[in-house]
Each structure stands twice: as C-alpha cells, then as structure tokens.
Symmetry: C2
Subunit: 104 residues, 2 copies
DNA sequence: TGCTTATATGACTATACAATCATATAGACA
DNA sequence: TGTCTATATGATTGTATAGTCATATAAGCA
C-alpha cells in the first residue's frame, strides 16, 4: 500500500479470487458469522478465516464481534456493483466465444 | 477457467495488479499501440507485452494489428466502471482512516 | 475452575506471478 | 536480399499466494 494505484489494485485483487468471490457473493444478503460462511462456500474454517481477514484488511468487509461469534458484512455498496459488472463482462465474453464457435 | 466463478475471478484478478491497472487507465481515452503504452507507464517493453497479453486473454482488452504496430483498447465499458468504483472504495477507506487518525 | 464452541494463527508445501535479460518473430521498406 | 522497427517469448529468479494440519486464543457456560 505505498501509493494509490497499489491500494486500488489491492482492492480488486482481493475480489479476484474464487474463494473470496464466493464469500462476497454469500454476504450479498447481509452479515453472517464465520460459522455460517465456511460451510456455505464449502471451504475449511482456517482457510475461510484467512480470506475473511484479508477481505477485511483491504476494506471490502466490515467485522463485528458478538460473544463468541464474529460477523462479517459487505462494507461498501460499490463492492457488489463491481461483482455485478464483472459478471456482465464474463457473460458477454462467453456469449462472444459461443458465437465464434457456432460460426465454425 | 473451469467454472463461472473462476472466470469471473480471473477478470477481477487481471485488473488487480498495479502495472495492469496503469495500462487500463492509460487506455481510458482510446486505443494505443504497445510503443506508446510502455513508455507511458514506465515499464519495460517485454513486461508490458506480457501484461497486455494477459489483459487480452481475460477479455479486458481488444487487440488490433496495423502493419508493425499492435493497438490495444478497452473492450467493455464495464471495465472502466469497475476501475472507477474501486477508486471510490479506496477514497472512502482512506478518508475513514484519516478521520480515525484525527480522532487520536 | 474446567469444558465447549468459535475463530485465528504458526508452520509448511505446492503453485502462481512479476520482472528481467536475451533472443525470436514478423512486417515494412530500401 | 538485408536492415530496421515493433512486438512477443523462452529461461530464469525471487517473491507471493492458497490451502492444509495442528494448535492457540478467547468468550460463554456448567
């Protein structure tokens, strides 16, 4: 995080990983504790914990403690907008490639 | 690229790297050849070429050949929207941290 | 106090990535 | 044909990352 470009890249890099993308998608509807998140995405607790920590460190998620449980939530609405836009790009790319395949 | 989530993550990962973010930002105003790009972002030609190749492979950039030169351009308007949103998140994060610092 | 549950972390391994240097390819043109 | 220019690529190196297993921490409760 030495300069703005690196900071900005870190935010996008945090989202650019399948496990973390699954976490963010699962949190779309609101905050959840770790004990709900890791079974939902099918990853180990320790691995999920690391990714959650990274998402929080890069400003994607907020963290709230309640007794034993720790609740994570999407911190900025812009996060879901980015996720949705990247899916749009994916869909357009896949559609384009299928059209190419059909043309063969 | 085995499943949609990985595909989507690859798009975001492609944007989540400082050198590639600089390339995309430089292409905001329109297509440019490699010979314009690498001096503008201050990276070596070979390194720039690799990043351009990756950005094209992940569907971020389009590529056009004209004689000796190869022109790259932003392929989807959603790309710049993502870049702008990620900067908004960064600004909010930095602002929030500065407020915290002032409170100390 | 001791036990249980929820979450985090240390140590490790395998893999991926960015950058560099040298070199290859491919098109333009004399 | 030979030379020049633009771009890509092979080989290599150092570093970062994801995932796993075992263990630590910390809060709640009997």
């Amino acid at each position: 995080m030495n300069n703005p470009t690196e900071y900005q890249a870190d935010i996008l890099k945090a989202l650019g990983q399948p496990t973390r993308l699954k976490i963010v998608e699962f949190l779309r509807d609101g905050e959840r504790c770790v004990c709900e998140i890791f079974p939902a995405i099918g990853e180990e607790q320790s691995n999920t914990s690391r990714h959650l920590n990274m998402l929080q460190a890069s400003g994607i998620l907020s963290r709230r403690k309640d007794g034993l449980k720790i609740y994570y939530a999407i911190k900025h609405p812009e996060v879901m907008a980015i996720v949705d836009l990247s899916r749009q790009i994916m869909v357009q790319e896949i559609t384009g490639k299928n059209l190419l395949l059909q043309a063969v």
